[in-house]
């Protein structure tokens, strides 16, 4: 059986529906940062309110997963649920005083950015370990070619080429996004 972290969103939803507790844990893990990012970055909720929304989102996901029409659409479904609960919280006054209309400003752009970031993260997770590692070292940890070469036992002069090749693979994965999602092993 495939590791839960490597199965598609649709596969994960199917296992959640069948009552697999581990699948539920994985679903929460997979979307927790996304939900919190929508609440805090798009709607500017306080950490406490964002945490309340987080709890509501996954409680309602648990109750209503059967309503989901397409298992592939779990991410936009969770996004929509999160948006609605954020707006409810703002309207209720909650612990944070925010104008609901003002709160909408820039929300769509932020959500687009979050979706893109999540897509990149998912594509990265589906890549081979060497590619994921080298991209992480260069783009996230800001390591130099020499440092990457020393860490991976590779000549420094080959690192730029390797990064470009891995970025090409990442681009290909992202272009496949509309096709049925399958986790790739290179």
């Amino acid at each position: 059986m495939a590791a839960l972290s490597s199965i598609t969103d649709a596969g994960l939803v199917a296992r959640c529906r069948s009552g697999d507790d581990d699948a539920w844990e994985e679903l929460v893990r997979r979307f927790s940062r996304y939900v919190l990012a929508i609440a805090q970055q798009a709607y500017r909720l306080s950490p406490a309110d964002a945490e309340d929304v987080f709890q509501d989102v996954f409680a309602k996901t648990y109750e209503r997963l059967g309503d989901l029409r397409s298992d592939d659409a779990v991410r936009p479904w969770i996004a929509q649920l999160t948006r609605r609960l954020c707006i409810d919280r703002i309207r209720a006054g909650a612990r944070e005083t925010v104008d609901p209309d003002a709160a909408h400003a820039g929300v769509d752009d932020t959500l687009d950015e979050l979706d893109e970031a999540l897509s990149v993260q998912e594509a990265l997770e589906s890549m081979s370990e060497p590619c994921r590692d080298i991209l992480d070292r260069f783009f996230r940890r800001d390591e130099s070619y020499a440092a990457i070469g020393a860490a991976l036992g590779l000549p420094s002069g080959t690192i730029a080429s390797r990064i470009s090749r891995c970025l090409g693979k990442l681009r290909d994965l992202l272009m496949e996004e509309n096709a049925p999602l399958t986790r790739h092993e290179e």
Binding site: F138, D142, S144, Y145, A146, I159, S161, I163, S164
Partner: protein, 178 residues
């Protein structure tokens, strides 16, 4: 560029050498990007080089800001004779200078990768990118040496020299190819 030149030629203490080195390396990244952008037809991974050049440029400007900030603090500390501040800010200026040397050496290596894959009509552009990056790396190494005058055996000095050698080797290799 005009804004930077105005500020560098002003009678203010900074920006100065660090920013000049940063801008030189940033020009090198721009040349690599141009060569890659104009080579997409012959270089399927040109986008990867563009992304790396963009990332290096972002790091360069951050390093340049840090270099100028630490330089100002180090000079103030030296002028005031505050030994505690000297101990804090002069080594910090050396660290920031070393970062410039590191990033510039990477730009030179990226230029080599670009030269070997891009449309050869742009070989001269990326060769000059490597030459500019070498100058920037040497700038960083020089500022490391200045900030570590009292510690000639400091590991940062030797790392800076190696970085300059790497960049220099890249530039000379590309220059010898045409």
């Amino acid at each position: 560029m005009d804004h930077l030149l105005d500020r560098v030629r002003s009678d203010e203490r900074s920006p100065a050498a660090g920013s000049a080195g940063t801008a030189t390396a940033a020009l090198a990244t721009a040349l690599v990007m141009k060569a890659a952008r104009r080579s997409r037809a012959v270089w399927p991974e040109a986008g990867g080089a563009i992304a790396q050049a963009a990332a290096l440029e972002t790091r360069l400007w951050a390093a340049g800001d840090e270099l100028e900030r630490t330089y100002r603090r180090a000079v103030e500390a030296l002028e005031s004779g505050d030994q505690e501040a000297i101990g804090e800010f002069v080594p910090a200026a050396a660290d920031a200078s070393l970062e410039l040397a590191r990033i510039a050496a990477d730009v030179a290596e990226l230029a080599v990768d670009a030269a070997h894959h891009c449309d050869q009509a742009h070989h001269a552009d990326v060769t000059v990118a490597a030459i500019l990056a070498t100058a920037a790396s040497r700038t960083g190494a020089q500022l490391v040496a200045v900030n570590l005058l009292s510690r000639p055996d400091d590991a940062r000095s030797s790392e800076a020299r190696l970085l300059v050698e790497r960049a220099q080797a890249a530039a000379e290799m590309l220059a010898s190819e045409r």
